[in-house]
Protein backbone atom coordinates (compact mmCIF):
# COMPACT_ATOMS: atom_id res chain seq x y z
CA UNK A 1 0.00 0.00 0.00
CA UNK A 2 2.89 2.25 0.79
CA UNK A 3 4.10 1.85 -2.76
CA UNK A 4 0.68 2.69 -4.13
CA UNK A 5 0.57 5.79 -1.99
CA UNK A 6 3.95 6.86 -3.26
CA UNK A 7 2.93 6.28 -6.84
CA UNK A 8 -0.21 8.34 -6.29
CA UNK A 9 1.89 11.08 -4.79
CA UNK A 10 4.27 10.98 -7.73
CA UNK A 11 1.40 11.27 -10.19
CA UNK A 12 -0.04 14.18 -8.19
CA UNK A 13 3.40 15.76 -8.23
CA UNK A 14 3.62 15.40 -11.98
CA UNK A 15 0.19 16.95 -12.31
CA UNK A 16 1.25 19.93 -10.20
CA UNK A 17 4.28 20.39 -12.43
CA UNK A 18 2.05 20.33 -15.48
CA UNK A 19 -0.14 23.02 -13.91
CA UNK A 20 2.95 25.16 -13.37
CA UNK A 21 3.98 24.65 -16.98
CA UNK A 22 0.50 25.74 -17.96
CA UNK A 23 0.87 29.00 -16.06
CA UNK A 24 4.19 29.90 -17.63
CA UNK A 25 2.94 28.71 -21.01
CA UNK A 26 -0.02 31.05 -20.71
CA UNK A 27 2.19 33.98 -19.79
CA UNK A 28 4.43 33.26 -22.76
CA UNK A 29 1.71 34.58 -25.02
CA UNK A 30 0.71 37.52 -22.85
CA UNK A 31 1.96 40.94 -23.90
CA UNK A 32 5.08 42.15 -22.17
CA UNK A 33 4.80 44.62 -19.32
CA UNK A 34 8.23 46.19 -19.59
CA UNK A 35 8.55 49.83 -20.54
CA UNK A 36 11.35 50.24 -23.07
CA UNK A 37 12.99 53.06 -21.22
CA UNK A 38 14.81 55.38 -23.55
CA UNK A 39 12.03 55.19 -26.13
CA UNK A 40 9.08 55.16 -23.78
CA UNK A 41 8.83 56.55 -20.27
CA UNK A 42 6.50 55.88 -17.39
CA UNK A 43 3.63 58.30 -16.94
CA UNK A 44 3.72 58.75 -13.18
CA UNK A 45 6.73 61.02 -12.99
CA UNK A 46 4.50 63.88 -11.84
CA UNK A 47 4.01 62.23 -8.46
CA UNK A 48 7.70 61.60 -7.90
CA UNK A 49 9.59 63.78 -5.47
CA UNK A 50 12.88 64.51 -7.10
CA UNK A 51 15.60 66.70 -5.71
CA UNK A 52 14.93 69.91 -3.82
CA UNK A 53 14.62 73.12 -5.77
CA UNK A 54 13.58 76.72 -5.26
CA UNK A 55 10.08 77.49 -6.41
CA UNK A 56 9.21 80.65 -8.31
CA UNK A 57 7.93 82.99 -5.65
CA UNK A 58 4.42 84.26 -5.28
CA UNK A 59 5.54 87.72 -4.20
CA UNK A 60 8.64 87.75 -6.27
CA UNK A 61 7.95 86.08 -9.63
CA UNK A 62 11.46 86.69 -10.91
CA UNK A 63 13.10 84.82 -8.10
CA UNK A 64 12.39 82.92 -4.95
CA UNK A 65 10.49 84.07 -1.91
CA UNK A 66 13.39 83.09 0.28
CA UNK A 67 13.91 85.29 3.31
CA UNK A 68 17.31 83.85 4.14
CA UNK A 69 16.26 82.61 7.57
CA UNK A 70 18.40 79.51 7.33
CA UNK A 71 15.74 77.12 8.63
CA UNK A 72 16.31 74.73 5.78
CA UNK A 73 20.02 74.61 6.45
CA UNK A 74 19.50 73.97 10.15
CA UNK A 75 16.90 71.28 9.62
CA UNK A 76 18.71 69.33 6.97
CA UNK A 77 19.79 65.96 8.41
CA UNK A 78 22.66 65.51 6.06
CA UNK A 79 23.85 69.08 5.76
CA UNK A 80 23.50 69.26 2.02
CA UNK A 81 22.30 72.86 1.84
CA UNK A 82 24.52 75.93 2.21
CA UNK A 83 23.31 79.50 2.11
CA UNK A 84 25.31 82.30 0.64
CA UNK A 85 23.93 85.61 1.76
CA UNK A 86 24.32 88.99 0.18
CA UNK A 87 24.10 91.73 2.79
CA UNK A 88 22.82 95.01 1.45
CA UNK A 89 22.03 98.32 3.01
CA UNK A 90 18.47 99.55 2.71
CA UNK A 91 18.07 101.53 -0.47
CA UNK A 92 15.99 104.46 0.74
CA UNK A 93 17.41 105.17 4.14
CA UNK A 94 15.19 106.82 6.65
CA UNK A 95 17.39 109.54 7.97
CA UNK A 96 16.05 109.29 11.48
CA UNK A 97 16.75 105.61 11.91
CA UNK A 98 19.88 103.72 11.37
CA UNK A 99 19.99 102.17 7.89
CA UNK A 100 18.68 98.62 8.03
CA UNK A 101 20.62 95.74 6.66
CA UNK A 102 18.75 93.67 4.12
CA UNK A 103 19.78 90.09 3.64
CA UNK A 104 19.36 88.78 0.17
CA UNK A 105 19.82 85.33 -1.22
CA UNK A 106 22.93 85.12 -3.27
CA UNK A 107 23.15 81.41 -3.73
CA UNK A 108 21.73 78.25 -2.22
CA UNK A 109 24.25 75.51 -2.78
CA UNK A 110 22.65 72.10 -2.79
CA UNK A 111 24.58 68.86 -2.81
CA UNK A 112 22.26 66.25 -4.24
CA UNK A 113 24.71 63.45 -3.48
CA UNK A 114 24.06 63.83 0.25
CA UNK A 115 20.34 64.54 0.07
CA UNK A 116 18.00 61.85 1.37
CA UNK A 117 14.86 63.52 -0.02
CA UNK A 118 13.19 63.59 3.38
CA UNK A 119 11.56 66.96 2.80
CA UNK A 120 12.47 68.53 6.13
CA UNK A 121 13.70 71.71 4.44
CA UNK A 122 10.50 72.01 2.42
CA UNK A 123 8.19 71.45 5.36
CA UNK A 124 10.02 73.80 7.65
CA UNK A 125 10.38 76.65 5.20
CA UNK A 126 8.28 79.51 6.58
CA UNK A 127 7.58 80.97 3.13
CA UNK A 128 7.36 77.69 1.18
CA UNK A 129 10.13 78.77 -1.11
CA UNK A 130 11.37 75.22 -1.59
CA UNK A 131 9.75 72.27 -3.25
CA UNK A 132 10.45 68.90 -4.79
CA UNK A 133 11.31 68.91 -8.46
CA UNK A 134 10.19 66.35 -10.99
CA UNK A 135 13.64 66.15 -12.40
CA UNK A 136 13.81 62.38 -12.49
CA UNK A 137 16.09 61.31 -15.28
CA UNK A 138 19.16 63.06 -14.05
CA UNK A 139 22.45 61.27 -14.26
CA UNK A 140 26.00 62.54 -14.23
CA UNK A 141 29.37 60.93 -14.61
CA UNK A 142 30.88 62.86 -11.75
CA UNK A 143 29.67 63.07 -8.19
CA UNK A 144 30.65 66.73 -8.04
CA UNK A 145 28.44 67.49 -11.02
CA UNK A 146 25.28 67.01 -9.01
CA UNK A 147 26.18 69.81 -6.63
CA UNK A 148 24.44 72.94 -7.82
CA UNK A 149 23.25 76.40 -7.02
CA UNK A 150 19.49 76.37 -6.69
CA UNK A 151 19.23 80.13 -7.33
CA UNK A 152 20.98 79.77 -10.65
CA UNK A 153 18.80 76.79 -11.49
CA UNK A 154 15.66 78.76 -10.75
CA UNK A 155 16.89 81.64 -12.88
CA UNK A 156 17.57 79.28 -15.78
CA UNK A 157 14.15 77.77 -15.44
CA UNK A 158 12.44 81.14 -15.42
CA UNK A 159 14.45 82.30 -18.43
CA UNK A 160 13.57 79.15 -20.29
CA UNK A 161 9.93 79.73 -19.49
CA UNK A 162 10.14 83.32 -20.73
CA UNK A 163 11.76 82.23 -23.96
CA UNK A 164 9.10 79.65 -24.47
CA UNK A 165 6.49 82.37 -24.15
Amino acid sequence: MNLLGEIREAIKGFYSLAVGMGVTGKYFFRPEVTVHYPRKTVDNVSTYSGHVELQPGKKNPDGADCIVCGTCVRNCPSGCLTLEVLELMEENPDLEKKPKKIKKLKALIYDYSYCSLCGQCIENCPVTALGFSQHVYWAEFDRKAIKMDLVARLKDQLNAKKEAM
Binding site: G22, T24, Y48, C76, S116, Q120, N124
Partner: protein
Protein backbone atom coordinates in the same frame (compact mmCIF):
# COMPACT_ATOMS: atom_id res chain seq x y z
CA UNK B 1 50.01 24.78 12.08
CA UNK B 2 50.57 24.68 8.39
CA UNK B 3 50.21 27.75 6.26
CA UNK B 4 46.96 26.42 4.92
CA UNK B 5 45.19 26.59 8.24
CA UNK B 6 46.41 30.14 8.77
CA UNK B 7 44.57 31.66 5.84
CA UNK B 8 41.40 33.61 6.39
CA UNK B 9 40.58 36.44 8.72
CA UNK B 10 39.78 36.80 12.40
CA UNK B 11 36.41 35.10 12.17
CA UNK B 12 37.75 32.17 10.18
CA UNK B 13 40.48 31.71 12.76
CA UNK B 14 37.97 31.73 15.58
CA UNK B 15 35.84 29.28 13.66
CA UNK B 16 38.78 27.00 12.99
CA UNK B 17 39.85 27.16 16.59
CA UNK B 18 36.50 25.72 17.64
CA UNK B 19 36.88 22.76 15.32
CA UNK B 20 37.20 19.40 17.03
CA UNK B 21 40.46 17.57 16.79
CA UNK B 22 38.91 14.59 15.07
CA UNK B 23 37.10 16.65 12.46
CA UNK B 24 40.07 18.74 11.46
CA UNK B 25 39.89 17.67 7.84
CA UNK B 26 36.44 18.99 7.21
CA UNK B 27 35.89 21.57 4.56
CA UNK B 28 35.41 25.11 5.85
CA UNK B 29 33.75 27.36 3.33
CA UNK B 30 32.80 31.00 3.35
CA UNK B 31 29.28 31.38 2.12
CA UNK B 32 29.31 35.05 1.33
CA UNK B 33 29.85 37.98 1.73
CA UNK B 34 29.29 37.73 -2.00
CA UNK B 35 27.00 34.80 -2.52
CA UNK B 36 23.82 34.78 -4.57
CA UNK B 37 21.60 33.43 -1.84
CA UNK B 38 22.64 35.59 1.09
CA UNK B 39 20.70 38.60 -0.21
CA UNK B 40 23.27 41.23 0.43
CA UNK B 41 26.49 41.08 2.28
CA UNK B 42 25.89 38.39 4.80
CA UNK B 43 28.64 35.90 5.35
CA UNK B 44 28.15 32.48 6.80
CA UNK B 45 31.15 30.35 7.61
CA UNK B 46 30.16 26.74 7.21
CA UNK B 47 31.94 23.55 8.08
CA UNK B 48 30.96 20.92 5.58
CA UNK B 49 31.04 17.20 5.76
CA UNK B 50 30.34 16.29 2.17
CA UNK B 51 27.11 18.06 1.36
CA UNK B 52 26.11 18.28 5.01
CA UNK B 53 26.73 21.29 7.18
CA UNK B 54 28.12 20.28 10.52
CA UNK B 55 28.54 23.80 11.87
CA UNK B 56 27.67 27.27 10.68
CA UNK B 57 28.35 30.72 11.97
CA UNK B 58 26.94 33.89 10.46
CA UNK B 59 29.32 36.82 10.34
CA UNK B 60 27.60 40.15 10.00
CA UNK B 61 28.50 43.80 10.15
CA UNK B 62 29.49 44.43 6.54
CA UNK B 63 26.68 46.95 6.16
CA UNK B 64 26.92 48.43 9.60
CA UNK B 65 26.14 52.16 9.54
CA UNK B 66 25.80 52.92 13.25
CA UNK B 67 22.27 54.24 13.03
CA UNK B 68 22.07 54.32 16.81
CA UNK B 69 24.97 56.73 17.07
CA UNK B 70 23.43 58.89 14.38
CA UNK B 71 20.32 59.04 16.52
CA UNK B 72 22.29 60.55 19.36
CA UNK B 73 23.63 63.30 17.15
CA UNK B 74 20.62 64.31 15.11
CA UNK B 75 17.46 65.96 16.30
CA UNK B 76 14.24 64.03 16.41
CA UNK B 77 13.12 65.48 13.10
CA UNK B 78 16.45 64.98 11.41
CA UNK B 79 16.56 61.31 12.29
CA UNK B 80 13.41 60.49 10.35
CA UNK B 81 14.97 59.74 6.94
CA UNK B 82 17.30 57.20 8.56
CA UNK B 83 14.36 54.97 9.28
CA UNK B 84 13.61 54.28 5.63
CA UNK B 85 17.15 53.04 5.21
CA UNK B 86 17.18 50.52 8.02
CA UNK B 87 14.87 48.06 6.33
CA UNK B 88 14.38 49.17 2.79
CA UNK B 89 11.72 46.58 2.05
CA UNK B 90 9.32 47.53 4.79
CA UNK B 91 10.46 51.09 5.31
CA UNK B 92 7.11 52.39 6.46
CA UNK B 93 6.99 50.03 9.44
CA UNK B 94 10.30 51.42 10.65
CA UNK B 95 9.02 54.91 10.00
CA UNK B 96 6.06 54.06 12.15
CA UNK B 97 8.07 52.49 14.92
CA UNK B 98 10.19 55.58 15.34
CA UNK B 99 7.39 58.11 14.87
CA UNK B 100 5.18 56.12 17.21
CA UNK B 101 7.86 56.02 19.90
CA UNK B 102 8.37 59.76 19.78
CA UNK B 103 4.63 60.38 19.71
CA UNK B 104 4.25 58.20 22.78
CA UNK B 105 7.06 60.01 24.50
CA UNK B 106 5.63 63.44 23.77
CA UNK B 107 1.99 62.36 24.03
CA UNK B 108 1.12 63.66 20.59
CA UNK B 109 -2.40 62.89 19.44
CA UNK B 110 -2.75 61.57 15.92
CA UNK B 111 -5.93 62.31 13.96
CA UNK B 112 -8.02 59.29 13.01
CA UNK B 113 -7.67 59.88 9.30
CA UNK B 114 -3.91 59.88 9.63
CA UNK B 115 -4.06 56.60 11.53
CA UNK B 116 -6.03 55.00 8.72
CA UNK B 117 -3.69 56.39 6.10
CA UNK B 118 -0.82 54.90 8.06
CA UNK B 119 -2.50 51.53 8.22
CA UNK B 120 -3.23 51.52 4.48
CA UNK B 121 0.25 52.54 3.42
CA UNK B 122 1.99 50.31 5.93
CA UNK B 123 0.01 47.25 4.85
CA UNK B 124 0.62 48.08 1.23
CA UNK B 125 4.30 48.23 2.00
CA UNK B 126 4.02 44.90 3.77
CA UNK B 127 2.57 43.33 0.64
CA UNK B 128 5.47 44.80 -1.36
CA UNK B 129 7.93 43.36 1.11
CA UNK B 130 6.38 39.91 1.05
CA UNK B 131 6.28 39.95 -2.74
CA UNK B 132 9.98 40.68 -2.90
CA UNK B 133 10.63 37.92 -0.42
CA UNK B 134 8.47 35.54 -2.39
CA UNK B 135 10.38 36.16 -5.57
CA UNK B 136 13.77 36.12 -3.92
CA UNK B 137 13.06 32.93 -2.04
CA UNK B 138 12.19 31.15 -5.26
CA UNK B 139 15.30 32.56 -6.80
CA UNK B 140 17.19 30.88 -3.96
CA UNK B 141 15.50 27.63 -4.81
CA UNK B 142 16.39 28.00 -8.47
CA UNK B 143 13.14 29.23 -10.02
CA UNK B 144 13.79 32.38 -11.99
CA UNK B 145 10.38 33.32 -13.25
CA UNK B 146 8.34 34.00 -10.08
CA UNK B 147 10.38 37.05 -9.10
CA UNK B 148 9.41 38.70 -12.38
CA UNK B 149 5.74 38.09 -11.74
CA UNK B 150 5.95 39.31 -8.18
CA UNK B 151 7.83 42.43 -9.22
CA UNK B 152 5.15 43.08 -11.79
CA UNK B 153 2.56 43.18 -8.99
CA UNK B 154 4.81 45.01 -6.61
CA UNK B 155 5.30 47.70 -9.19
CA UNK B 156 1.58 48.50 -9.04
CA UNK B 157 1.76 48.94 -5.28
CA UNK B 158 4.95 50.95 -5.45
CA UNK B 159 3.40 53.25 -8.04
CA UNK B 160 0.51 53.88 -5.67
CA UNK B 161 2.81 54.54 -2.76
CA UNK B 162 4.87 56.87 -4.92
CA UNK B 163 1.69 58.77 -5.68
CA UNK B 164 1.38 59.92 -2.09
CA UNK B 165 4.80 59.57 -0.56
CA UNK B 166 6.83 60.75 -3.53
CA UNK B 167 9.40 58.00 -3.24
CA UNK B 168 9.51 54.40 -4.28
CA UNK B 169 11.67 52.56 -1.79
CA UNK B 170 13.09 54.50 1.14
CA UNK B 171 9.99 56.24 2.32
CA UNK B 172 10.01 59.11 4.77
CA UNK B 173 6.31 59.69 4.92
CA UNK B 174 5.04 59.65 8.49
CA UNK B 175 5.40 62.76 10.59
CA UNK B 176 5.02 63.43 14.30
CA UNK B 177 1.25 63.78 14.57
CA UNK B 178 0.22 62.52 11.18
CA UNK B 179 1.47 61.95 7.69
CA UNK B 180 3.14 64.24 5.21
CA UNK B 181 0.50 64.40 2.52
CA UNK B 182 -3.15 63.49 2.38
CA UNK B 183 -4.34 60.69 0.15
CA UNK B 184 -6.49 61.56 -2.83
CA UNK B 185 -9.28 59.88 -4.74
CA UNK B 186 -6.93 58.59 -7.40
CA UNK B 187 -4.97 56.77 -4.72
CA UNK B 188 -8.10 55.30 -3.18
CA UNK B 189 -9.41 54.09 -6.53
CA UNK B 190 -5.98 52.73 -7.45
CA UNK B 191 -5.69 50.92 -4.15
CA UNK B 192 -9.07 49.27 -4.59
CA UNK B 193 -7.97 48.10 -8.03
CA UNK B 194 -4.72 46.82 -6.56
CA UNK B 195 -6.62 44.82 -3.95
CA UNK B 196 -8.67 43.25 -6.71
CA UNK B 197 -5.52 42.54 -8.70
CA UNK B 198 -3.83 40.88 -5.73
CA UNK B 199 -6.86 38.69 -5.12
CA UNK B 200 -6.77 37.53 -8.72
CA UNK B 201 -3.02 36.97 -8.68
CA UNK B 202 -2.80 34.91 -5.52
CA UNK B 203 -4.41 31.81 -7.11
CA UNK B 204 -1.86 32.05 -9.91
CA UNK B 205 0.94 32.11 -7.34
CA UNK B 206 -0.60 29.07 -5.76
CA UNK B 207 -0.74 27.16 -9.05
CA UNK B 208 2.69 28.14 -10.19
CA UNK B 209 4.57 27.82 -6.95
CA UNK B 210 2.79 26.86 -3.75
CA UNK B 211 1.39 23.62 -5.14
CA UNK B 212 4.53 22.82 -7.06
CA UNK B 213 5.80 19.40 -6.10
CA UNK B 214 9.46 20.32 -6.34
CA UNK B 215 9.01 23.41 -4.19
CA UNK B 216 7.07 21.47 -1.59
CA UNK B 217 9.81 18.90 -1.42
CA UNK B 218 12.33 21.68 -0.96
CA UNK B 219 10.39 23.36 1.86
CA UNK B 220 8.45 20.76 3.76
CA UNK B 221 10.15 19.47 6.88
CA UNK B 222 13.16 21.62 6.15
CA UNK B 223 14.56 23.72 8.95
CA UNK B 224 12.00 22.73 11.54
CA UNK B 225 12.02 25.41 14.19
CA UNK B 226 10.43 24.29 17.44
CA UNK B 227 8.44 26.92 19.25
CA UNK B 228 10.63 26.63 22.33
CA UNK B 229 13.71 27.43 20.27
CA UNK B 230 12.00 30.36 18.58
CA UNK B 231 11.23 31.75 22.00
CA UNK B 232 14.77 31.24 23.24
CA UNK B 233 16.11 33.25 20.37
CA UNK B 234 13.40 35.88 20.48
CA UNK B 235 12.26 35.19 16.94
CA UNK B 236 9.19 37.10 15.90
CA UNK B 237 7.07 37.69 12.87
CA UNK B 238 6.40 35.03 10.24
CA UNK B 239 9.30 32.95 11.55
CA UNK B 240 7.56 32.63 14.91
CA UNK B 241 4.10 32.25 13.42
CA UNK B 242 5.45 29.47 11.23
CA UNK B 243 6.11 27.64 14.49
CA UNK B 244 2.50 27.89 15.47
CA UNK B 245 2.49 30.83 17.86
CA UNK B 246 -0.19 33.36 17.04
CA UNK B 247 1.82 36.34 18.14
CA UNK B 248 1.49 39.55 16.25
CA UNK B 249 2.30 42.96 17.68
CA UNK B 250 -0.73 44.37 15.91
CA UNK B 251 -2.89 42.23 18.20
CA UNK B 252 -0.65 41.72 21.22
CA UNK B 253 0.25 45.34 21.77
CA UNK B 254 -2.45 47.07 19.78
CA UNK B 255 -1.41 50.37 18.32
CA UNK B 256 -3.15 52.78 16.02
CA UNK B 257 -6.55 51.59 14.74
CA UNK B 258 -5.66 47.93 14.39
CA UNK B 259 -8.05 46.86 17.20
CA UNK B 260 -10.96 48.13 15.12
CA UNK B 261 -9.97 46.15 12.07
CA UNK B 262 -11.02 42.60 11.46
CA UNK B 263 -8.15 40.41 10.36
CA UNK B 264 -6.65 37.11 11.29
CA UNK B 265 -3.19 36.18 12.34
CA UNK B 266 -2.15 33.26 10.17
CA UNK B 267 -0.10 30.68 12.01
CA UNK B 268 0.98 27.22 11.00
CA UNK B 269 2.23 24.71 13.54
CA UNK B 270 4.68 22.75 11.39
CA UNK B 271 7.61 25.06 11.99
CA UNK B 272 9.28 24.23 8.69
CA UNK B 273 10.18 26.48 5.79
CA UNK B 274 6.87 25.71 4.14
CA UNK B 275 4.97 26.93 7.19
CA UNK B 276 6.87 30.20 7.09
CA UNK B 277 6.14 30.39 3.39
CA UNK B 278 2.43 29.83 3.97
CA UNK B 279 2.33 32.42 6.74
CA UNK B 280 3.66 35.07 4.44
CA UNK B 281 1.33 34.22 1.59
CA UNK B 282 -1.61 34.21 4.01
CA UNK B 283 -0.42 37.53 5.41
CA UNK B 284 -0.61 39.07 1.97
CA UNK B 285 -4.26 38.05 1.85
CA UNK B 286 -4.86 39.52 5.29
CA UNK B 287 -3.14 42.74 4.34
CA UNK B 288 -5.42 43.07 1.35
CA UNK B 289 -8.33 42.58 3.73
CA UNK B 290 -7.01 45.25 6.10
CA UNK B 291 -6.52 47.71 3.27
CA UNK B 292 -10.04 47.17 1.96
CA UNK B 293 -11.55 47.62 5.41
CA UNK B 294 -9.52 50.73 6.12
CA UNK B 295 -10.55 52.24 2.82
CA UNK B 296 -14.18 51.68 3.73
CA UNK B 297 -13.70 53.10 7.21
CA UNK B 298 -11.55 56.04 6.16
CA UNK B 299 -12.91 59.11 7.96
CA UNK B 300 -12.73 62.70 6.82
CA UNK B 301 -10.60 65.13 8.78
CA UNK B 302 -7.07 66.22 9.27
CA UNK B 303 -4.16 64.16 8.07
CA UNK B 304 -1.85 66.01 10.43
CA UNK B 305 -2.53 67.00 14.00
CA UNK B 306 -3.15 70.76 13.96
CA UNK B 307 -1.09 71.25 17.07
CA UNK B 308 1.83 69.07 16.10
CA UNK B 309 4.99 70.64 17.39
CA UNK B 310 7.53 72.05 14.97
CA UNK B 311 10.35 71.29 17.38
CA UNK B 312 10.31 68.12 19.36
CA UNK B 313 11.61 68.35 22.87
CA UNK B 314 10.23 65.39 24.76
CA UNK B 315 10.15 65.22 28.53
CA UNK B 316 12.71 63.16 30.35
CA UNK B 317 12.06 59.49 30.27
CA UNK B 318 12.25 56.36 28.23
CA UNK B 319 9.83 54.72 25.88
CA UNK B 320 9.64 51.40 24.07
CA UNK B 321 7.39 51.21 21.07
CA UNK B 322 6.94 48.14 18.94
CA UNK B 323 5.20 47.62 15.63
CA UNK B 324 4.77 44.54 13.47
CA UNK B 325 7.00 44.71 10.45
CA UNK B 326 7.10 42.26 7.60
CA UNK B 327 9.91 40.43 9.34
CA UNK B 328 8.67 40.65 12.90
CA UNK B 329 8.63 42.89 15.88
CA UNK B 330 10.31 46.20 15.25
CA UNK B 331 11.11 47.96 18.47
CA UNK B 332 12.40 51.45 19.06
CA UNK B 333 13.65 52.31 22.52
CA UNK B 334 14.34 55.95 23.18
CA UNK B 335 15.81 57.49 26.30
CA UNK B 336 15.25 61.20 26.27
CA UNK B 337 17.13 63.64 28.44
CA UNK B 338 14.78 66.47 27.67
CA UNK B 339 16.88 67.96 24.93
CA UNK B 340 16.13 68.00 21.24
CA UNK B 341 18.21 64.90 20.57
CA UNK B 342 17.70 61.48 22.13
CA UNK B 343 20.11 60.49 24.87
CA UNK B 344 20.07 56.92 23.62
CA UNK B 345 18.21 55.35 20.76
CA UNK B 346 18.02 51.63 20.37
CA UNK B 347 16.62 49.89 17.32
CA UNK B 348 15.46 46.34 17.79
CA UNK B 349 15.46 44.71 14.40
CA UNK B 350 13.59 41.45 13.92
CA UNK B 351 15.96 40.00 11.32
CA UNK B 352 18.79 40.22 13.84
CA UNK B 353 17.08 37.83 16.21
CA UNK B 354 15.82 35.68 13.37
CA UNK B 355 19.27 35.26 11.89
CA UNK B 356 20.86 34.43 15.23
CA UNK B 357 19.00 31.13 15.28
CA UNK B 358 20.37 30.12 11.90
CA UNK B 359 23.54 28.62 13.34
CA UNK B 360 21.53 26.17 15.42
CA UNK B 361 18.93 25.51 12.74
CA UNK B 362 21.42 24.80 9.96
CA UNK B 363 23.35 22.23 11.92
CA UNK B 364 23.25 18.89 10.17
CA UNK B 365 21.30 20.03 7.14
CA UNK B 366 22.27 19.83 3.51
CA UNK B 367 23.83 22.87 1.90
CA UNK B 368 20.81 23.28 -0.34
CA UNK B 369 18.54 23.16 2.70
CA UNK B 370 20.62 25.78 4.44
CA UNK B 371 19.98 28.04 1.46
CA UNK B 372 16.29 27.27 1.72
CA UNK B 373 16.30 28.00 5.46
CA UNK B 374 18.22 31.22 5.02
CA UNK B 375 15.70 32.31 2.43
CA UNK B 376 12.73 31.34 4.55
CA UNK B 377 13.96 33.53 7.40
CA UNK B 378 13.45 36.54 5.11
CA UNK B 379 16.54 38.49 5.99
CA UNK B 380 17.22 42.08 5.14
CA UNK B 381 20.89 42.60 5.84
CA UNK B 382 20.86 46.39 6.35
CA UNK B 383 18.29 45.83 9.04
CA UNK B 384 20.46 43.27 10.77
CA UNK B 385 23.52 45.48 10.73
CA UNK B 386 21.67 48.75 11.18
Amino acid sequence: MTTETLCGDFYTHCFQAEQDKEHEGRLIINMGPQHPSTHGVLRVIVEMEGEYISRAEPVIGYLHRMHEKMGEIKTYHQYMPNMGRVDYLHALAWNWAYIGAVEKLCQIEVPRRAEFIRVITCEMNRICSHLVWWGAYLLDLGAFTPIMYSFDDREQAVDLLQMITGSRLTYCYYRFGGVRTDINDAFIAGTRDFCKLMKSRLPMYKDLVTDNYILRKRCEEIGVLPLEMARRYGATGPVLRGSGQKYDVRRAEPYSVYPELDFEIPAFPEGDAMARYRVRVAEMEQSVRIIEQSLNMLPQGDFMAPKSPKRIKPPKGDVYFAVEGARGKIGVYIISDGSSTPYRLKLRSPSYSNLSLFAELAKGTLLADAVSILGSLDLVIPEIDR
